[in-house]
Symmetry: C3
Subunit: 141 residues, 3 copies
């Protein structure tokens, strides 16, 4: 039987391109679910946050921050009145990253590689409390 389950959890962020490993939180949220295999989709609310996967390692995290700054510089002139809003909105939108992470899941684990973690990025200019929503679709016995 196919069923759909929704799980939520919150994560406190520091803003200013804060990068947080949420892999354990995702596994924790899905491991007790009755859906033993299927699709998992993670969403983050708000237009200044994003999700992606990367090897969560200090050098690579610094590289990612520099990549984002190079792609959407914070000191550039923008037409939108509020420069901060433009950079954050772009960074969290499709052009640079994305608000959605999709994965297969098997026995309560997302099918990530060994060197791959799901990360939450917060580009806001202040600390925020973010809600992550997981939608699981799959088979129950």
């Amino acid at each position: 039987v196919i069923s759909l389950q929704t799980k939520k959890f919150t994560e406190r962020t520091a803003g200013h391109c804060d990068i947080i490993d949420i892999t354990a939180r995702i596994h924790e949220a899905i491991e007790k679910e009755q859906i033993h295999h299927g699709l998992i989709t993670a969403f983050v609310s708000g237009s200044t946050a994003a999700l992606t996967t990367i090897e969560y390692e200090s050098g690579l995290i610094q590289d990612l921050k520099e990549f984002v700054e190079r792609l959407i510089p914070s000191d550039r002139r923008y037409h939108h009145d509020d420069r901060w809003a433009t950079t954050t909105v772009f960074r969290a939108s499709g052009p640079a990253l994305r608000a959605v992470h999709r994965d297969t899941h098997r026995q309560g684990k997302a099918s990530l590689g060994t060197w791959q973690q799901v990360i939450l990025l917060d580009f806001d200019n202040r600390p925020r409390m973010r809600e992550i929503t997981l939608e699981l679709i799959g088979e129950t016995e």
Copy 2:
């Protein structure tokens, strides 16, 4: 009970990086559906169109157009015979944007932030009629 429903609507575009807010069209298409919560996936047909989310505001729209031009310049030399085709294909593909928008939905609304609209981008060099396909998966009572 889990069910799946497909909805379609068309949108006329002007091409040349035309940016259209389709949020109201999406809500209109799903609000009468019996699926009260679940997943919504929007697709746009054609290799020169894309979907993403942004705050639909004139300054930010101009910033997005300039970002796309900066990332994939239209005056650059390309190996593909037709320069226009290369720039449009790149802009509408994974590298810059994407053809798919995913969201959760609750009571006939996509779970967008307050300052967040779903936009259709058309990079073609002429007006087009685009078909948007929505796939809803979720629970009915």
Copy 3:
């Protein structure tokens, strides 16, 4: 009735930004399934591979390789110890491309445009055997 089916196939790659058209493999995998319409999601394992769609044509393939090199240069200094790992991880992650392709399917075909193929990109520095996982959700009769 809604059901979910998982299909897998492997693809040998040469690494070093190898680009392979996997459209026929996807159609072959889904055409005999009982799910006649619904959603198809393709995943590639590993943090140095990605999926996207493009017109599979030699000029455009060369343009894509140059675009990736321009966006994430291989001769740039990175904080992560291993320069190769940084460039490949970035190229295969959200910032440049993505590991997931989503599509609607009808009668055993993904709903691609005429000039649109699903491609597998491998940024590894050696030949690899990649596993592609397809998750189909949809209606059976």
